[in-house]
Symmetry: C2
């Protein structure tokens, strides 16, 4: 058996010629550049995220999950913009050529890519002391329909998709800081390792939401970005936060609320909807596979105010995950 | 003095709001995605390259040069495609927040970006044990005018821009394996640290060259990619290789030829031109700031054959830099 010994054979063997073969790709992997044909009349949405071993994922984690997540976190950014995904590129720095790891990484990456019609059009594989994955995704969105962070207005409702905190619980359990309830491990673990980008929901929100973001660093911090960019504030009723049965069964109520507000990696959408569009939201959200929950309201006064159902303030010490904190 | 402690303040302070502000950028850094407006009737050329500290550059090297080079190597890929550059994104993994390093890195990056009208539209700054830089560049090229690797035909001339081997000499000198001639150090060092992407030359070659590539891994290896993709061979007369006075003054003749053929990082263009377009090439190349040298000819028989002026074969043991070699 001959191991591939150059970056070229690596790229050729693992990353080239995977489905789908999109009509808008004139030239894929294998030249100095990919040549792509953007659709007329659409804007190009571009995003990238880097995952570093033992910073953003455990180096020993299932490589299939790592491949899935590297793409998923970027598709989630497209979803938060209301864009439909099209193309991706991959920069992969590896300490060694491990064919088993690479094959599994590719399985996870390409399964999700196929599911959403995304073609890998470019890549660069390099040698380095630690695994670093930078994936960039390109998508399309009609002009003036993109879901930006800066459109929230006082009176708009604040909503989230799915449930919050599951990924944070999985991470805490992996670090020995929490215990997942009996029988719930695989669900909770999948929420950390296999986040499902809310792409259909993002597209459905195009003419409905006034602002949107995906929750990568924790609800409090990411909603904070909407508030800051929109120059508004919000109040959120913490008892309304959507929590999964597995999550509720694993944590006491106070820990659950703090985790749901401050832990990252959920990749749900947080968005705001003007009152006159709430009925339309309810119509489209009825068709979603995930939950859609109203958790609060935008206000003119800057800042995020958290309340309990009884009206008392809820105090949150730590707002989200800070990569250099 | 307050150090920035989050990835957000890093991005805000160092990477946002730099010139130029292009008309085709609807939304730059600061949201989930950048929103870009591709020109109608052009293809989008996309490329990316990763630079890892102490693999692709010395960790202790001048950070201004690293910033320059991170963009330059990608603009060189656009040049090799005949594309005009437009947008870039940056994924930066850093072991620590070093403001002096970051400021200098940005100076180098943005000086080159400004020079070529490139706007940084997205980024992700992460913490990791080693500095890893992935830069992605986007450019435009009219359909069917892109310079691909697969269009070389028997009888086409083989050409290179500029001079070869200078960057390899600089690297060899830094490793204590070569000595740069007195008075030539700054020129040779600049060729390694500040490569100038041949963008104007690439655009000029659009309707002239039948194939093109940029020389990042050594002439023999990179020309080999053209030959492989075009399913042809070539003969190259090694005495014709364009070498700088500084290079010739520093190395004996045999070492010079091997270095010019096999060392990477030159970022010159290697391209092929059909006989009927040679006159047009000579006309446009007369206006170039860099040299344009015919070094050989494409042949039907596969493989790269190197000859001396006396007709004897030139034997090259090592073909280019292999990242996993």
């Amino acid at each position: 058996m001959t191991l591939p010994t150059s970056e070229f054979s690596l790229i050729d063997r693992y990353f080239a010629d995977h489905a789908p073969n999109r009509h808008d790709v004139a030239l894929g992997i294998g030249d100095d550049c990919a040549l792509l044909i953007p659709p007329v009349g659409q804007q190009l949405a571009v995003t990238l995220d880097t995952l570093v071993a033992d910073v953003h994922f455990f180096a020993a984690a299932d490589p299939e999950g790592i491949g899935h997540k590297a793409l998923a976190v970027n598709l989630s950014d497209l979803a938060a913009m209301g864009a439909t995904p099209a193309w991706a590129t991959l920069a992969l720095t590896l300490p060694k050529v491990d064919e088993v790891w690479l094959a599994a990484f590719c399985r996870g990456l390409f399964a999700l890519a196929d599911q959403h019609g995304v073609q890998l059009v470019g890549g660069d594989t390099t040698h380095g002391p630690v695994t670093v994955i930078t994936l960039q995704a390109h998508g399309f969105v009609p002009p003036d329909l993109a879901l930006r962070r800066d459109g929230a207005k006082p009176g708009d409702g604040v909503y989230v998709t799915g449930t919050l905190g599951d990924a944070g619980l999985a991470l805490a359990a992996a670090l020995g800081k929490a215990t997942i309830a009996v029988g719930q491990h695989s669900y909770v673990q999948a929420r950390l390792e296999r986040p499902e980008p809310r792409l259909a929901e993002g597209v459905a929100l195009r003419a409905i939401a006034s602002a949107a973001i995906d929750i990568s660093d924790g609800l409090a911090q990411d909603l904070g970005h909407i508030l800051e960019r929109s120059q508004v504030g919000a109040q959120v009723e913490v008892e309304r936060l959507p929590l999964s049965p597995a999550f509720n069964a694993s944590l006491d109520r106070e820990t659950a609320l703090v985790t749901a507000l401050s832990s990252g990696d959920d990749y749900e959408l947080c968005f705001t909807v003007p009152p006159e569009r709430v009925a339309r939201l309810e119509t489209v959200a009825a068709a979603w596979e995930c939950r859609c929950t109203r958790i609060g309201v935008i206000e003119a006064e800057p800042g995020l105010r958290l309340f309990r159902a009884d009206g008392y303030a809820f105090r949150l010490e730590r707002q989200g995950y800070d990569h250099f904190g």
